[in-house]
């Protein structure tokens, strides 16, 4: 049917808040859904053809010219209709998790480094987010009907989740350090699966 996709609605949402160039759009969208410029520019063209957006060209001195896109009435209606439908399930892809899955074959040092690096990344994220949150709080327009409300609570959400993941990482580090979890085990285990006997695992 060649209908608009989630990225399209994300763009409508951002432009509903305020008119933007494609370049700016990519930055604003980063909170909700990271997107490359190579995906955004063709999408903007497509959406303009569908009368969901319009643009004006803005000449700049010392910088390249840009196109400022605004949402149309039709765009607003389309967005509103979409907002009322219940969202589809989230997608999370994370190489870190795949590595964690195989942590048992990784040796203590490498495991701890993996988790420690994650903690460092999370800490960076946390400082970045508190800066963003502080910025939003300073411009004092955070009522539930303010156009900044969504961004504000989204930053808060990310902050909370990053913090919780950090706590989890520290819990994991503890488990690895005091490998006290494995006391009752360490024997011979033969587990069945399907009709086959899994390889016999011997640990000490």
């Amino acid at each position: 049917m060649n209908t608009i996709n989630t990225l399209g609605y994300a763009i409508l949402g951002a432009l509903g808040r305020k008119p933007c160039s494609g370049y700016e759009l990519a930055q604003y969208l980063e909170v909700v859904r990271p997107v490359k410029h190579s995906q955004i520019y063709p999408m903007l063209t497509k959406m303009e053809q569908k009368d969901l957006l319009v643009h004006v060209r803005v000449d700049q001195t010392g910088k390249p010219d840009k196109k400022i896109f605004s949402i149309t009435e039709k765009g607003k209606e389309t967005l509103q209709k979409w907002l009322a439908k219940s969202p589809s399930d989230p997608i999370n892809r994370d190489e870190f998790l795949i590595k964690i899955y195989s942590i048992w074959m990784m040796g203590e040092e490498n495991s701890m480094e993996l988790v420690q690096d994650r903690i460092s990344n999370l800490e960076e994220t946390l400082t970045y987010l508190s800066k963003k949150i502080a910025e939003l709080e300073q411009n004092k327009e955070l009522g539930t009907m303010s156009k900044n409300f969504g961004r504000y609570i989204l930053f808060n959400r990310k902050f909370r989740l990053a913090k919780e993941e950090k706590t989890w990482c520290q819990w994991v580090l503890n488990l690895i350090k005091n490998k006290n979890l494995n006391i009752p085990i360490l024997c011979v285990s033969a587990r069945m699966f399907g009709n086959l006997v899994e390889e016999v695992v011997l640990v000490i």
Copy 2:
């Protein structure tokens, strides 16, 4: 170069833990990276051609036959090398967040419904996860070097994050309900964020 991708490593990780059919694989992988069967079967073929896997055909009565795949030595080495490299950044895509972004144009009722539905989903996830965690804890093979360790901590991670997101949802519901709370209160809450006391503060 036609080298293996993240999905391939996820498969190696799962098969490193124990031999599986493609069908089972899809289920085990769900913790770390959801995958459709239409993607898994061609990938298994490709990986077998690269000598990372081998399979044996298992005839079943009352059920379709299946192929049990196992990891080869070459597969293990490939996996180990990959595990040592630092993981690339996670990808999260979530329509819910895009809708939240535009919450300011949504009206109180619809906003609250959106968040309330999210809470319901999270609660389902939480009960599912606690069941899974309980299962793993019962078979008592959770030492850091047990093949279940990775799965165990991954379930815990998901649980923690889902719980934290639920808390966030409730915080948002409060903000919407008492929409009189303006700037000063929000500021206080954010400062207290580090100590997770904000809910107390929010009730004016």
